[in-house]
């Protein structure tokens, strides 16, 4: 919901006072043992009062470094090498420690990524908030407390007075972020720097927090510098945006201009590799950016993007482009910015792209390879009272998975989507055998897989392998790439000993990794490369089914597209069936044939991918779809926000588990009484599409679609 324009566009906004923050040609360098590394060079931009300026870029592009440079918190060996940082007309670079200290928390405030860590675990929330007022304004404790409670109400924190007395670990991640934001705004700062504030939060919680930020900006007229790698969030929250790559600002302009017509090849590349929810499956093809981000030590002399650019010419290689202002006010750091037209872009040849099967074409006759019926997984919980200890206390369980029923067809991909704590990882752990299922049946290739690994024979284990989420911990740091990929072959004996090396090299090439990767150690690989080795290791024993536990959510957007295409290639070539877990609906849309949506252990909706993204859909799916930030400011997205927190799985709500937060309950007689009492029936819509809800099918069909194109004015 971009800036709601007055019904009559004001074409001449009145001249405003100077910008709150003005950064000119700033360069930041870190002293290293021998010499120094220039992390960020000649970055300049301006933020006016009440304006939200987005700084976008992949990891390692220096966007956080700029933020830390402003508050001069660059650690022991970092320093602002050149340029000026003017805040409210005064240059911060020369400021003494004491002067800066007075500004921090009073006129400049900061919120950063991980709310869990940002609050002192051994101090009451109230005390941490009051501090800002008592220290800066010398306010009395009572007034400060009153002011804090007012601010907590302002950020829609339920039961604010009580929260003041509690400790950080007693409230949820979303609430912690609200406390941090409230604390930052207590002194009505002129500038609020936010470094990835919602990345660690779930989609629905993130949407609520983003709304809050937009609202507060308007009320307090605070200038916001919003740092993120997620283009969707920028489109939703920011007016202007600066795209950074490898320590330099490559493109700068208003959000509409940048998204409608990106001029710098890197920005164009970014736009192409970000999954867009709006588009249907065929048109939402993802094109990765080939190559890797150059390390700070050896950056190319000419344009830093030239090794990965599709339009590189000799001028790009020799001469460093300056940030040029284009006619429409956008400024770009590229010699040929004007002449490049993103529309006629054709993918370079070495980017072998998977052919998107028609999706629901041959869906019918592929017989299911893995079927699950009423699968349950409960974890016993040890009570803390003395009686529990002696075993006589009441038996309490975390009901992680509640009768999951679905089947995966051969050669197809099932996407499982849900927020944290919905039981999707537990389900995968039960299928692969790391955990034993409590009840229900699960069939794989005709064998029963309800028991854990010890109950399965070697052949069955070989047919079911897994790809993991975190690239850092997916590989054993003490063994080389070749050894780790070869291990499954030796273990299952699928390849005679002497041919293992060649077989591994063949796999590496299939993963588009050269033969020289064979002897490399994990610490010498980038995130994307480690994930490719993880996939190669899973495919080493040529399994029938590969379970992917959020394989791309820890990767940069450009690398994400490459891994997804790789997985599709593998599926096309060897027909491996895949179960793909993700919390990001747009990625799942592009990748899977069927999608299951889970909430607190229960499958709410399951069906072919296209059916899920259009009505009729389950109210929870609708809420998820409306919360996903979409990287296209021109579309109109329905605004549905879920109240309250996810209930605990130890004592889940009775009947339909979503009834405590369901926005569509009022459609049912006396406000969804039935939802609380009975488990909802499965509503069959055909072609495998089922919805687990009391609301009759006809009403579900009347919901209007989430995404509509904003009418061009």
């Amino acid at each position: 919901m971009a800036e709601a324009a007055m019904d009559w566009t004001v074409n001449k906004n009145l001249s405003d006072a100077g910008p709150v923050l003005k950064i000119e040609e700033v360069a930041v360098a870190y002293k290293v043992r021998h010499g120094e590394i220039v992390a960020v060079q000649n970055v300049s931009f301006e933020i006016k009062r009440g304006e939200s300026y987005g700084i976008v870029g992949e990891s390692g592009c220096g966007k956080s470094t700029v933020a830390w440079a402003i508050v001069n918190f660059l650690g022991a060996n970092g320093y602002v090498k050149a340029g000026s940082i003017k805040f409210l007309g005064q240059d911060l670079v020369g400021k003494t420690g004491e002067e800066l200290r007075k500004l921090r928390g009073d006129q400049i405030a900061m919120v950063y990524q991980d709310p869990m860590q940002a609050l002192n675990p051994s101090m009451k929330l109230g005390d941490q908030m009051k501090e800002v007022l008592t220290v800066h304004r010398g306010m009395s404790d009572a007034d400060a407390a009153k002011r804090c409670i007012e601010m907590l109400d302002r950020v829609y924190m339920p039961d604010a007075a009580n929260v003041m007395k509690r400790y950080p670990h007693q409230i949820s991640g979303g609430q912690q972020q609200r406390v941090v934001i409230a604390m930052a705004l207590l002194n009505n700062p002129a500038l609020l720097i936010m470094d990835e504030p919602t990345t660690a939060l779930d989609v629905t919680v993130e949407a609520a927090v983003l709304d809050l930020i937009a609202e507060l900006r308007r009320d307090f007229d605070t200038a916001i510098m919003y740092i993120t790698h997620n283009l969707g969030v920028v489109a939703r929250v920011c007016n202007r945006v600066g795209v950074m790559y490898a320590g330099e600002m490559v493109e700068r302009g208003t959000v509409e201009q940048i998204f409608k017509k990106p001029q710098h090849p890197y920005t164009q590349g970014l736009m192409r590799c970000v999954p867009k929810l709006g588009a249907d499956k065929a048109s939402s093809m993802l094109y990765p950016i080939i190559g890797r981000v150059p390390p700070p030590r050896n950056r190319p002399i000419g344009c830093i993007f030239n090794p990965r650019c599709d339009y590189t010419q000799d001028r790009c290689i020799e001469e460093r482009p300056q940030l040029r202002d284009m006619p429409n006010g956008v400024s770009v750091r590229c010699h040929f910015a004007g002449e490049i037209d993103p529309a006629q872009w054709t993918p370079p040849e070495e980017l072998k792209l998977p052919s998107i099967s028609g999706g629901d074409g041959d869906n019918g006759e592929a017989e299911p390879i893995l079927t699950v019926n009423g699968l349950k997984k409960y974890y016993p919980v040890q009570g803390s009272s003395l009686k529990d200890l002696l075993g006589r206390g009441p038996k309490r369980y975390v009901k992680a998975v509640e009768d999951a029923t679905f089947s995966v067809k051969k050669g197809k991909t099932l996407g499982i989507v849900g927020e944290s704590g919905c039981g999707k990882s537990t389900l995968i752990k039960t299928l692969i055998g790391l955990e034993e299922s409590t009840a229900g049946e699960a069939q794989f290739l005709g064998f029963d897989i309800t028991g854990d690994l010890s109950t399965r024979n070697k052949q069955l284990i070989q047919e079911l392998q897994m790809v993991f989420q975190n690239p850092d911990s997916t590989m054993n740091p003490s063994y080389s790439v070749g050894q780790q990929i070869g291990r499954p072959m030796i273990r299952f004996g699928t390849v005679p000993k002497n041919q293992v090396r060649d077989e591994v090299i063949k796999l590496l090439q299939a993963m588009r990794l050269g033969e020289n990767y064979y002897d490399r150690l994990p610490r010498q690989l980038s995130g994307g490369e480690k994930q490719r080795v993880g996939i190669a290791r899973a495919l080493a024993s040529s399994p029938n089914v590969v379970l992917c536990d959020e394989p791309v959510s820890a990767l940069d957007v450009s690398v994400q597209a490459a891994i997804l295409n790789l997985l599709l290639d593998v599926q096309a070539e060897s027909g491996t069936t895949m179960i793909f877990i993700a919390h990001d609906l747009s990625v799942v849309r592009f990748f899977s044939d069927d999608v299951a949506v889970m909430y607190l252990g229960q499958i709410m909706e399951i069906g072919p991918a296209d059916a899920i993204y259009a009505p009729p859909y389950h109210p929870y799916t609708e809420a998820l779809l409306s919360a996903v930030p979409i990287p296209d400011p021109t579309i109109q997205q329905k605004h549905i926000r879920l109240e309250g927190n996810v209930p605990s799985a130890i004592s889940p709500p009775s009947g339909c588990r979503f009834h405590t937060r369901c926005p569509r309950r009022h459609l049912l007689p006396n406000n969804g009484k039935i939802c609380e009492e009975e488990l909802p029936p499965w509503r069959e819509i055909g072609d495998g599409h089922r919805i687990f809800c009391h609301i009759p099918l006809e009403t579900l069909r009347t919901f209007d679609p989430i995404i509509t194109q904003k009418e061009e004015d």
């Binding site: 992949e58 990891s59 390692g60 990524q113 990835e196 990345t199 790698h229 890797r292 981000v293 390390p295 700070p296 030590r297 692969i432 055998g433 790391l434 690994l453 399965r456 070697k458 284990i461 079911l464 392998q465 897994m466 993991f468 989420q469 975190n470 690239p471 850092d472 911990s473 997916t474 590989m475 054993n476 740091p477 003490s478 063994y479 780790q484 291990r487 499954p488 273990r491 299952f492 020289n516 002897d519 490399r520 610490r523 010498q524 690989l525 980038s526 995130g527 480690k530 993880g534 290791r537 899973a538 024993s541 820890a554 990767l555 940069d556 690398v559």
Partner: protein, 308 residues
């Protein structure tokens, strides 16, 4: 945040030498580790020299008793008139260089009492720690309970009891060091293994149906080697500390071979006559232990920075 480390230059098969040099170079990165290494190497060198040459035969009482340091005996003589310098040099042998097996065969194996003792502690401790961490549940409870019992009890007393139980000898001291050292190592290995156990590559190994022993020793243990090595260094220091104390209490390594602890003990009685007699062995023990500690601390700092 996502991951994008810079790749080192493309190295062909890292040769054994290159890997070794990479290891050594870590040490020279930090001043503290280098100083520590120098002290340790100094004593090692002294020990090796003493195998072939000492100013005078260590056990021969050729001189006047309780002489302060003078030109002939650089560090003076002890209460029986033996040359302290040579006794000091041979003192390192028994701690760092050689162990005498029991029985009158007089077989000598390389590696000092302290080193074998700590090695024993490592083997026992690692085995217990790994099993306690990976198997968890009942195993973890029982092992940790036994270890807590041993740790709850002052180590020196355990030493006393073990050593008085069996008659004096190198192997007994080694056994004592192992028993008192094992709980500490087990606790360290357990905490490391508990952290490594949560990593995805262990899940990957489990999904391959690898045997428990393979996972423990092939997947978990190699990643715990760094901190274990550093801790072992500290334990050698502590073992020397312990041997000295036992020697001082008169129940350490059997005579006649000179052992620093007993030298301090004997010299103590004559402290009024010749205060200089006490200082050399005392300084020797202290400096060797400090050297090992410095080396270990420097190594630990480098390892953590290296991994970051």
């Amino acid at each position: 945040m996502t991951v994008a480390q810079p790749t080192a230059t493309v190295s062909s098969k890292p040769s054994r030498l290159k890997k070794a040099w990479e290891g050594i170079s870590i040490v020279f990165e930090s001043r503290v580790a280098t100083v520590g290494l120098i002290i340790v190497l100094f004593w090692f060198a002294l020990g090796i020299i003493s195998l072939f040459w000492t100013p005078y035969p260590p056990n021969a009482n050729l001189f006047e008793q309780n002489l302060p340091p003078n030109t002939t005996n650089w560090l003076g003589t002890d209460h029986l008139g033996r040359d302290i310098t040579s006794r000091l040099m041979t003192g390192t042998q028994v701690v760092l260089l050689k162990t005498r097996l029991p029985g009158d065969l007089g077989i000598v194996i390389p590696g000092g009492v302290a080193l074998w003792g700590v090695f024993g502690a490592l083997v026992v401790g690692a085995f217990l720690g790994l099993n306690a961490a990976y198997r968890g549940g009942w195993w973890d409870q029982s092992i940790m309970q036994v270890l807590d019992a041993l740790v709850a009890f002052p180590a020196i007393v355990l030493y006393l009891v073990i050593i008085t139980a069996f008659e004096q000898g190198d192997v007994v001291v080694i056994f004592a060091i192992t028993i008192t050292g094992a709980p500490g190592v087990a606790r360290l290995v357990r905490s490391l293994a508990l952290d490594i156990k949560t990593r995805d590559y262990i899940r990957a190994a489990e999904t391959r149906g690898e045997k428990v022993s393979y996972i423990m020793f092939k997947e978990i243990f190699p990643n715990a080697r760094g901190p274990i090595l550093v801790d072992a260094m500290l334990r050698v220091g502590y073992a020397i500390f312990m041997i000295g104390t036992l020697g001082f209490l008169g129940i350490g390594l059997p005579p006649p071979d000179p052992d620093w602890g007993s030298m301090v003990n004997e010299a103590r009685k004559f402290i009024f006559l010749n205060p200089w007699g006490v200082i050399p062995p005392a300084v020797a023990i202290a400096s060797l232990v400090v050297g090992l500690n410095l080396f270990a601390d420097g190594l630990r700092e480098e390892l953590t920075r290296y991994q970051k």
